[in-house]
């Protein structure tokens, strides 16, 4: 690693970013950021949420203007005033949330804003031919006339890349491109990146998945609190080193020690199947104080399974028993009553009401507790909220807007919402998605405590380390089928991945 500014001295026709600064009001989100991207290389930009990665990329892609600093691109000063100007200069950005028009065709999306014309009419034949040529260059066999809505996420991403290629992009910025991709799709994307790289294209690659950085990146730039804290000339650096640089301290203990589970079986799932066949014939049980991890690739049916157990989605057959009693899965209310609670996958859309305060969010779903006679008095809400906030160490006050909290604290509020019942079965779907690395350990502690207090805990996660580090046993799903349950002692990266890809 080097913090020596001499790295910008090598002359080449790539991208030089030097001294970029950006503040929003009193908050400086970017301070003196300098790095370079050489032609034909992939530079990984790493950092926690809020470290400044997005700000840097948005400046390079023309959607944000810096307060100070300069950029040189292909030997000329470069200061795009809009994304259109950046695109004209050959700089494109593939956003995490794809910016496609779902009801238009693939070809129309590729050529949106500059539809090919002939004699005053849209030249669909030429557009389709050229779009499909670009898609073939990416190794994708999709009809250019198909509606984008009907494509899988991975294919939609390819359409975005194809669009950038027809715009003659020479620098592509990827923001979390693999967040929604399965492992095969990720492999395909990497293959394309390598191919385009060989043709001389440059990439800035933002990702939270540290394991894939070593595979795809040539060099690594680590950011923290708006500053660049480390530059690595190689990408195969230990994950731990990178994490420590990202959080700015050494990560001593990511996962808390697990306590011994009890002997009583709390949750029994038998031959559960979904009407859409997203999972079939799943059977497992969880004891008091036990944490069961559920692993699998994207689309393996993990989220669908736990949502069904929590009554959020219908089932077609099978049964769920809690403490020996069958649960009638006809809605979340029945499951909650039976003692099964869910911390859902999508925090912002399913977990919290962003318009409301922390106290109000805690009270939702607990009115029977907060208001035994149906009367909700603010004093009772306040008291209830203070108890939950105190118990989980949420950094906030009951009457504060929940939207002002960090992801980790919002997640704690969602957990705190259920903890007072107390539930028998606690299900957490992707409990640390979008949460800073540094804040994750606190969530892990909370999860371990849930088990220690005697609940049966089920944790779904795409982060394999997380599943392995937290669980007593790991259930592996692949294409909706249960491939096996591994004990902590036998559950390793390799063992789980073997089952998950079977």
């Amino acid at each position: 690693m080097s913090l020596d500014p001499s790295h910008t001295q090598t002359p080449h026709l790539g991208l030089f970013v030097s001294g970029l600064c950006k503040s929003y009001g009193p908050v400086q989100v970017l301070a003196d950021a300098s790095f370079e991207v050489r032609p034909g290389e992939v530079v990984a930009l790493l950092g926690e949420n809020g470290a400044g990665k997005s700000t840097v990329s948005n400046i390079i892609a023309g959607s944000t203007k810096p307060d100070a600093g300069s950029i040189t691109w292909r030997g000329k000063p470069y200061s795009p005033a809009s994304p259109a100007e950046a695109i004209d200069a050959g700089v494109g950005m593939i956003h995490q949330e794809l910016k496609l028009l779902p009801d238009l065709s693939v070809a129309e999306n590729v050529y949106v804003g500059r539809l090919l014309m002939r004699g005053g009419r849209i030249d669909r034949a030429a557009m389709n031919a050229q779009a499909s040529a670009q898609l073939r260059r990416l190794g994708l066999d999709v009809s250019p006339e198909r509606k984008v809505r009907t494509l899988r996420i991975a294919a939609q991403q390819q359409v975005e890349i194809a669009k950038a290629l027809t715009l003659n992009a020479e620098l592509l910025i990827f923001d979390e491109p693999t967040a929604a991709l399965g492992s095969e799709e990720t492999e395909l994307l990497f293959k394309q990146i390598r191919k385009l790289k060989a043709e001389g294209m440059s990439f800035i690659y933002i990702s939270h998945r540290l394991d894939e950085i070593a595979e795809i990146a040539d060099r690594v730039v680590v950011m923290r609190d708006g500053r660049i804290v480390a530059r690595h000339e190689r990408a195969d650096i230990p994950v731990r080193t990178v994490v420590e640089q990202m959080v700015g301290r050494s990560v001593e203990r990511m996962f808390p020690p697990l306590s011994e589970p009890g002997s009583e079986t709390l949750l029994e799932v038998e031959n559960l199947s979904s009407p859409e066949r997203s999972f079939q014939n799943v059977s497992f049980s969880v004891r008091t104080g036990e944490i069961l991890g559920i692993a699998g690739l994207i689309g393996a049916g993990r989220t669908e399974l736990v949502r069904a157990i929590a009554g959020a989605d219908p089932i077609s057959s099978g049964s769920v028993r809690v403490a020996g009693k069958p649960v009638h899965l006809n809605g979340p209310a029945a499951a909650i009553k039976a003692g099964v609670v869910l911390v859902p996958e999508d925090r912002k859309a399913q977990g919290v009401v962003l318009d409301q305060t922390i106290g109000e969010n805690l009270a939702i779903g607990n009115f029977d507790h907060v208001a035994p006679n149906g009367w909700v008095f603010p004093r009772a809400v306040q008291k209830f909220a203070e108890a939950g906030i105190g118990r989980l160490g949420v950094k906030g006050r009951p009457n504060q807007a929940i939207s002002k909290l960090s992801g980790g604290n919002q997640q704690k509020v969602i957990i705190a919402k259920w903890i007072s019942r107390p539930p028998k079965v606690f299900i957490l779907d992707e409990p640390t998605r979008g949460i800073d690395v540094g804040a994750r350990a606190a969530i892990y502690d909370v999860i371990a405590d849930l088990a220690r207090s005697g609940m049966a805990v089920v944790v779904v996660s795409s982060d394999l380390e997380e599943v392995l580090g937290l669980s007593h046993r790991v259930l592996v799903l692949s294409r909706g089928r249960q491939r096996g349950i591994l004990d902590r002692s036998e559950a390793s990266n390799v063992a789980v991945m073997e089952l998950a890809t079977s």
Binding site: A310, G351, V353, L354, I364, G365, F377, Q382
Partner: protein, 336 residues
């Protein structure tokens, strides 16, 4: 409770004063902007006319806003859960016609009580059907209630083939005319009582608070065990009943019912709720805010009449007020 909520935010100042301030701000939470607008409007009208600030005129304003006010209570609930009800004007007309048809000597002649009850039931059913179209058929509320708006208007016309029914018992019409205790007609009293009941319901009942959760995020509410569908049905049904009640109040004021009445009222009602600070995307709004919105529209109409401004210009002014109210609200939210 609200007092301690607010008080804990205030760091300095005498406790009693802080508590009082907090209480006031809690009561009008999120409605400060519209409230200031209303006060300024009243001040301006008091200064420019001799007649605005008289007991007689203020009572007139209250009389004039009863129909709008009662409908706006129901609309507040619907907008709170992220819905919209375009059918209230038509349902008002249908309920009034049903009441006339059942009660009037020229038709079924079953007496006023039977007429009123039937009218409220029919109005409630209209609302329930809208609700079911939203929850079961999954129609967007805009479309479901647009359909109901057309159906209810058609039914209202079918009852008498488009003609009006005139003449109700004296005791009925006097409900809106005789001012008890020297100031309060039964209909105005009804509006005020309903507003208080629904304000308490929304603020302090678990079900009322659940409506805010549904409007904030229906999926979060559902996953939290709140019966979103059945509450949604109830809300549309109640909105229908209140629209029917408004139709009965209008009948008492006019001593007649006609199938064309209430035309366009749905837009006035939505305007009042929105001026009162409610968000059309749901989860934000209050009866207090709606009351202020209703009064702003009422005072504006009354004041412009007193000033002799033509009805055409009044329409323009009210349009401008709607845009201004929502624009300031949006701007305030963004800068928070």
């Amino acid at each position: 409770m609200a007092v301690s909520n607010g008080a804990s935010e205030l760091k300095a100042g005498p406790n009693a004063q802080a508590a009082a301030g907090a209480k006031l701000s809690a009561l009008f939470a999120g409605t400060m902007g519209p409230l200031i607008g209303l006060v300024l409007l009243c001040l301006a009208l008091s200064l420019t006319t001799d007649t605005f600030l008289t007991v007689r005129n203020i009572l007139n304003v209250l009389d004039q806003v009863t129909v709008l006010g009662i409908m706006a209570i129901g609309m507040t609930l619907v907008i709170l859960i992220g819905g919209i009800d375009l059918s209230v004007g038509s349902v008002l007309a249908l309920a009034a016609m049903v009441m006339g048809f059942v009660a009037h000597p020229d038709y079924l002649n079953l007496g006023m009580p039977a007429g009123i009850v039937t009218a409220l039931v029919v109005a409630g059913l209209c609302g329930l059907v809208s609700g079911l179209l939203v929850t079961v058929t999954k129609l967007p509320p805009f479309i479901a209630t647009l359909a109901m708006m057309s159906v209810a208007r058609g039914l209202a016309n079918m009852i008498t083939d488009g003609s009006q029914i005139i003449g109700f018992p004296d005791w009925f019409t006097s409900l809106s005319i005789i001012r008890h205790f020297g100031f309060l007609s039964v209909t105005v009293g009804l509006m005020i009582v309903l507003a208080i009941i629904f304000a308490i319901f929304l603020n302090y009942r678990a079900t009322g608070r659940s409506l805010y959760a549904i409007g904030g995020s229906a999926e979060v509410a559902r996953l939290s065990g709140i019966p979103v569908k059945s509450l949604t049905n109830w809300v549309y049904a109640i909105c229908g009943v209140l629209a029917g009640l408004a139709g009965i109040v209008l009948a008492a004021r006019l001593d007649s019912v006609q199938p064309s009445s209430g035309f366009g009222y749905e837009l006035d009602t939505i305007a009042a709720v929105v001026i009162g600070g409610a968000s059309l995307s749901g989860g934000v709004g209050s009866i207090g805010g709606t009351a202020i919105g209703v009064l702003i529209i009422g005072v504006l109409r009354n004041g412009l009449n007193l000033l002799g401004v033509s009805p055409f210009i009044q329409q323009v002014v009210i349009g401008v007020v709607i845009a201004l109210a929502v624009a300031t609200d949006t701007w305030r939210r963004r800068t928070q």
